[in-house]
Amino acid sequence: MDLSLSTRSVGDRTVVEVGGEIDVYTAPKLREQLVELVNDGKYHLVVDMEGVDFLDSTGLGVLVGGLKRVRAHEGSLRLVCNQERILKIFRITGLTKVFPIHTSVDDAVNATD
């Protein structure tokens, strides 16, 4: 399965809905999307990963890269994920401490801290 990406604005946040597999082959597409959003001045991103079937370290690297980019503009990058097998990868690498991870898009969009 390939990667699917779609974006929409919710208030001052931009929700990036990701579906399919994020791996060494597809991760560059996600990177391009995040870079494009930041270049367009979208600095508050919510990456909805509920439709993601597979995520590897390449995908993690892209998300960390995205976080660095939005932070350079005092922005934020929040994740939405309830899937245990995906959350496990964030835990193994210690990235649960780096990303705010929410259980729903609404929760992530309304979060302020």
């Binding site: 791996d23 060494v24 990177r31 590897d56 690297g61 960390v64 890269g65």
Partner: protein
């Protein structure tokens, strides 16, 4: 001899194939369903790392994945041809992303208990194994 052996050009688009084949062979060998996700992820990471080493080194070549159904363990070996202790090129940091090689190894180390990462003159070898659940009643 490996139960199933796969060789692919060191390109990102083939890593998914390696993941799917490894998971299918592991399932057939009797690796527990609950760890198949781990097997899939670990093989993907090992293959991504191998492909990355080839690409950063600017060399072609193939990645070899050997899947061996031993009596009580299911063994997976991923071997690259990227040369001795391939070091990421200095340009790798330009993208602003963290060192994917480090993240990849962190994932593999966190997932696999029985793991061995070695480097020879031709390239690196990642060897990992999982227990096989032997059915108590033959079907």
């Amino acid at each position: 001899m490996a139960t199933v052996e796969l060789r692919f050009s060191a390109l990102p688009e083939h890593v998914r194939t390696a993941r799917l084949v490894a998971a299918a062979v592991a399932r057939r060998a009797g690796v527990d369903e609950s760890v198949l996700d781990e097997v899939r992820l670990a093989v993907g990471e090992a293959c991504s790392r191998a492909v990355g080493l080839h690409q950063r080194g600017g060399i072609g070549g193939t990645v070899r994945v050997a899947l061996t159904d031993q009596e009580k363990r299911f063994l997976i070996e991923v071997e690259d041809e990227a040369g001795p202790a391939a070091v990421p090129a200095s340009g790798a940091a330009e993208s602003g992303e963290p060192d994917e090689d480090t993240l990849g190894l962190a994932v593999i180390t966190g997932l696999v208990e029985d793991l061995e990462v070695t480097n020879g003159t031709d390239g690196g070898l990642i060897r990992m194994s999982w227990p096989v659940s032997v059915p108590s009643v033959a079907v």
